[in-house]
């Protein structure tokens, strides 16, 4: 059976699993940050930035960024192959989908690099 070259893992099972795993990681990450915000009464820039500079938080943050990129890509890919097709969007559906996917891929990459720069740039 032909799979699609633009799907994330080229296997529906891999995509599905990745989508679930990344969702759990993101949930845990935001709960963690939320918990920190709630339990820290005097939040200053120093407290906030030293919190992100611990090794555990660095690893966790990187994991979360990778997860969000993968999660976004699989989601975008799924939605675009549902609605941006020749069946749903007319004769130019395939071109539209290609442009949309390319634009999203670039955008996700830009955000990815940008986030790393914000967290660890000088």
């Amino acid at each position: 059976m032909v799979t699609s070259i633009t799907s994330y893992g080229r296997s529906g099972t891999a995509d599905w699993l990745m989508q679930r795993v990344s969702a759990v990681i993101l949930l845990a990450y935001f709960l963690c940050i939320g918990g920190f915000l709630v339990t820290t009464p005097d939040l200053s820039f120093d407290v906030w930035s030293s919190y992100f500079n611990t090794r555990a938080m660095r690893i966790f943050s990187l994991l979360a960024i990778i997860s969000i990129a993968a999660h976004a890509w699989i989601g975008i890919w799924g939605v675009s192959t549902d609605y941006l097709t020749t069946r749903m969007a007319g004769a130019n559906g395939d071109t539209l989908r290609w442009i949309f996917q390319a634009a999203c891929a670039v955008l996700i990459f830009v955000y990815f690099v940008w986030t790393i720069e914000i967290l660890w740039g000088v």
Binding site: M1, T3, S7, G12, T13, A14, D15, W16
Partner: protein, 234 residues
């Protein structure tokens, strides 16, 4: 008098489909939607629909009644009529051949893809391939499907990708053979389903479950297939 609105389209004479409003005298009796269709057809022989067994066995009279798919022959008016009105349309998502008759080609193509027959290369024993009662019980809730297409044509994922998503009906049958102790092609069957469309376009909306006239649960079967795929991948 019951207000009935029927989707009409004869490609030979009509430029576009239209809804025909008619009043039908049911004499206040409850009856099956199919009986109503027969009454309409007696007065207007150009109106077309499919039917055969008239008892929910053949699966030919799947139609959309007041927005919900079902078999006309086993759906009483009392179950679907709202405010004395009944809107009848062909099953959604498939090309219309005429009036309530749809082209089931795409649906059957997906059914074919799952190889709905036993694959077993072991030489057949003298009498028959035996199956324990426990193994046979695993096929309950799967083998009863009559391929009426009510489920697949109620599924948004099938509307969007009818050529790539197998759809609830085909997947129920895929699992029927994955679950059969006499079938030897489990690995090949799973490999054929592993792409991002065949199984994984199911988003668990369960429209299929709510319309199946046989009370079957395609979503559950799809869940079993997904677990088998995950077991194989990890």
């Amino acid at each position: 008098m019951l207000n009935v609105s029927i989707y009409r389209y004869n490609p030979a004479t009509d430029k576009a489909p239209y809804m025909q409003d008619i009043q039908v005298d049911t004499g206040g009796r409850d009856m099956m939607v199919l009986d109503l269709l027969e009454m309409v057809k007696t007065n207007d022989t150009t109106m077309s629909y499919r039917r055969s067994c008239r008892e929910g066995v053949c699966g030919s009279d799947g139609v959309n009644m007041n927005g919900k798919n079902g078999l006309a022959c086993i759906t009483p008016l009392s179950e679907v009529v709202k405010n004395n009105k009944l809107v009848l349309r062909p099953l959604p998502g498939l090309p219309v051949i005429r009036d309530l008759v749809v082209d089931m080609g795409q649906f059957y193509k997906q059914y074919e893809k799952v190889k709905p027959f036993l694959l077993n290369d072991t030489p057949a024993p003298a009498i028959e391939r035996l199956q324990s009662p426990e193994d046979r019980a695993k096929l309950d809730g799967l083998y009863e499907c009559i391929l009426c297409a009510c489920c697949s044509t109620a599924c948004p994922s099938f509307w969007w990708n009818p050529d790539r998503f197998i759809g609830p009906s085909g997947l129920l049958q895929a699992y029927r053979f994955l679950a059969d102790s006499r079938d030897e092609a489990t690995e090949q069957r799973l490999a054929d389903l592993d792409d991002p469309f065949s199984v994984f376009r199911c988003h668990g909306i369960q429209n299929c479950v709510s319309v199946c006239p046989k009370g079957l649960n395609p979503t559950k079967a799809i869940g079993h297939i997904r677990n088998m795929l995950l077991g194989r991948a990890t």
